[in-house]
């Protein structure tokens, strides 16, 4: 199957005066419709890698391709559009806008793409809220929900523009194991149903084992890469 994300010879340094190398010559690609996990010790460079894929940060060296388009040389406007149309982010913290309701938060990426709300998009948002079990609280303000509900809202938000890639950085880090379980099942269902590619950072061995591919980073290098 075609690669949706391709990293070629990626180096990443942090700092100006004291330069520390965090990623060392990473070569990785991710297939379309795949469900991947990244594991590794704290500080091994997982988040750094994911943020590079998500175009939130730029590599010091190397090339990154998304759908065969090189991203590390794009300008801010191009990157904003790329992120808006092809990527969904789920972080450990939900980052919902507390000034808006759950549904308004879910619709935000769509509003960014095109302020006008079509009936199709409106219905799709309702479907997503249904899928994430939030129909009852969809008109609550973002901070008037439980932690799990907030995280599920963030997941629905990541999906609203039907992105081809979802990047998740410890999406259930703050949740109890039962809730985590449900959320992973949800992500898996979305992967199956919509063919969305997932790259998920996790600490949870049990969860990693349920993914199609496990990549382990160690001190900024790929230490292990297993597919099932």
């Amino acid at each position: 199957m075609a690669d949706i994300v391709r990293l070629e010879n990626i180096d990443k340094f942090y700092g100006d005066k004291i330069r520390t190398q965090v990623l060392f010559d990473i070569n990785l690609s991710f297939e379309e419709n795949s469900f991947n996990s990244i594991i590794g010790q704290s500080g091994s460079g997982k988040s750094t890698l994911l943020n590079l894929v998500g175009t939130l940060d730029k590599p010091t060296d190397g090339r990154i391709f998304i759908n065969d388009q090189r991203t590390d040389t794009m300008n801010g406007i191009q990157l904003a559009e790329l992120r808006n149309r092809t990527m969904g982010f789920i972080f450990q913290f939900h980052y919902l806008l507390p000034e808006f309701t759950a549904k308004e938060n879910v619709l935000m990426p769509s509003r960014i793409m095109n302020y006008k709300l079509t009936p199709e998009v409106d219905q799709w948002a309702d479907e997503l809220l249904e899928l994430t079990g939030l129909s009852k609280v969809k008109n609550n303000m973002a901070n008037e929900m439980s932690g799990g509900q907030q995280q599920r809202t963030a997941i629905a938000r990541a999906l609203v523009n039907k992105p081809s890639i979802i990047l998740a950085d410890e999406p259930t880090g703050n949740l109890d194991s039962d809730t985590s379980e449900t959320i992973y099942k949800l992500l898996r269902d979305i992967n199956k149903e919509y063919g969305t590619t997932f790259i998920i950072i996790t600490h949870d061995q049990r969860i990693a084992e349920k993914t199609d591919r496990i990549i382990e980073l160690k001190d900024g290098r790929v230490d292990m890469d297993v597919r099932r």
Partner: protein, 386 residues
């Protein structure tokens, strides 16, 4: 654009306390600025009006030996060519004289007018508080102070001596009060012919007097009249040249009032700027995720420009309302014993619109700094430190 507006509105709504405070701050600034500005303008207009409102603003006199103007009909005609910039034109035959009354004598100034025309300049009829205007020859009006000193009242006959040694008796038909004691004390107002005969002027007059529609353009109009009149032996004066110290006083007052107004507005600007800068920091999480989701830097900075704009508009509207309130209460509570305001407040809509606009523009300028911060914010900073 519209998303930025929507987010800006929500940010303002969710930080309601802060929004109210800053709008209050802006509106107090605007109202103070408006109040001071209107008050100073009112003061100045009032001062100008009492000083020169009821007097000749452009005056033509003669430079011949006898200081008299011969063919004044023509001069009046030429001056009237400048209507409507020139509003009232009138002639006067003036000369010093001595009033001989029971106890003593008093120096006076005989002023012979075409009463109907001069009334438009001096408001004689309005100042007449006893008797009637002179109609026939040898009828005169005297002022309140002169009447008090000499004990003359309306209906009396007075004896007046001219510098040549001649004398005449005039009938006092009424008493006036023109609100200026030096005038009330000295002017004996009569018709043109009485004065000309008494002072031996023949058919000549001593000056052509006029008022202008724009008092501050009196010098310009005076100069133009000077070029236009056909008689070379004439001199055109205007009130501005004769009242330099008054004008520089007014100027100083204006400058200090502008300074106060500018400082008030700068304070407003700094206030908005700092509150918005704080709000960028407060909202950095939101901005970070919006950027991760693909909002463009320009749109992100627009959020703060819109906030500035809305704060400015709200503040300006409330400030103008407060300002009117202040002015209204000032005219109601700072009053003379007779109930008239100490300073008649002058409402200049152009000035009010300008200070409102200024507040809005300041608010927008103030929002540029936070807008810049927000445009530069990198989502990764927020997401890392979240």
């Amino acid at each position: 654009m519209r998303l930025a507006l929507k987010i800006a509105l929500r940010f303002l709504k969710s930080g309601r306390g802060q929004t109210i405070l800053i709008v209050l701050g802006i509106s107090i600034g605007v109202s103070v600025q408006l109040f001071i500005g209107s008050l100073i303008q009112g003061l100045q207009i009032n001062l100008i009006d009492t000083t020169i409102g009821s007097s000749s603003q452009v005056t033509i006199t003669s430079t011949t030996d006898d200081k008299l103007i011969d063919n004044w009909d023509r001069i009046v005609y030429e001056a009237k060519m400048f209507e409507p910039e020139v509003t009232n034109v009138s002639v006067s035959a003036d000369g010093p004289a001595t009033l001989d009354y029971e106890a003593d004598t008093a120096p006076v100034l005989i002023r012979g007018f075409d009463i109907e025309e001069s009334n438009k300049i001096y408001n004689i009829e309005e100042g007449l508080y006893e008797g009637r205007l002179p109609g026939r020859k040898d009828e005169v009006l005297i002022g309140r102070e002169l009447a008090l000193i000499t004990g003359v009242s309306s209906g009396d006959r007075i004896l007046v001596l001219n510098p040549g040694g001649g004398s005449a008796r005039f009938d006092v038909t009424g008493l006036y009060d023109l609100q200026v004691s030096s005038i009330n004390e000295s002017w004996i107002i009569t018709n043109l012919q009485t004065a000309q005969d008494f002072l031996g002027m023949g058919n000549k007059v001593s000056s052509v007097e006029m008022q202008v529609s724009e008092v501050f353009d009196a010098d310009v109009i005076g100069n133009r009249i000077g070029y236009a009149v056909s008689d070379p032996n004439l001199k055109v004066d205007n009130w501005k040249d004769q009242n330099q110290s008054l004008l520089s006083g007014l100027n100083g007052q204006s400058v200090s009032s502008y300074m106060i107004q500018i400082f008030v507005l700068v304070a407003v600007l700094l206030g908005i700027s700092s509150v918005l800068a704080i709000s960028v920091v407060q909202k950095s999480k939101q901005l970070g995720i919006l950027k991760a989701m693909g909002i463009k830097d320009k749109e992100a900075s627009l959020i703060f420009v819109f906030q500035g704009l809305m704060l400015g508009i709200l503040g300006a509207i409330m400030g103008i309302a407060f300002g009117f309130g202040l002015l209204y209460s000032f005219t109601k509570f700072a009053v003379n014993p007779d109930g008239t305001p100490v300073v008649p407040v002058y409402i200049n809509y152009g000035f009010i619109a300008l200070s409102g606009m200024f507040a809005i523009v300041s608010a927008m300028i103030a929002s540029l700094i936070p807008a810049r911060i927000s445009s530069r914010l990198n989502p990764i900073e927020v997401i890392k430190n979240g």
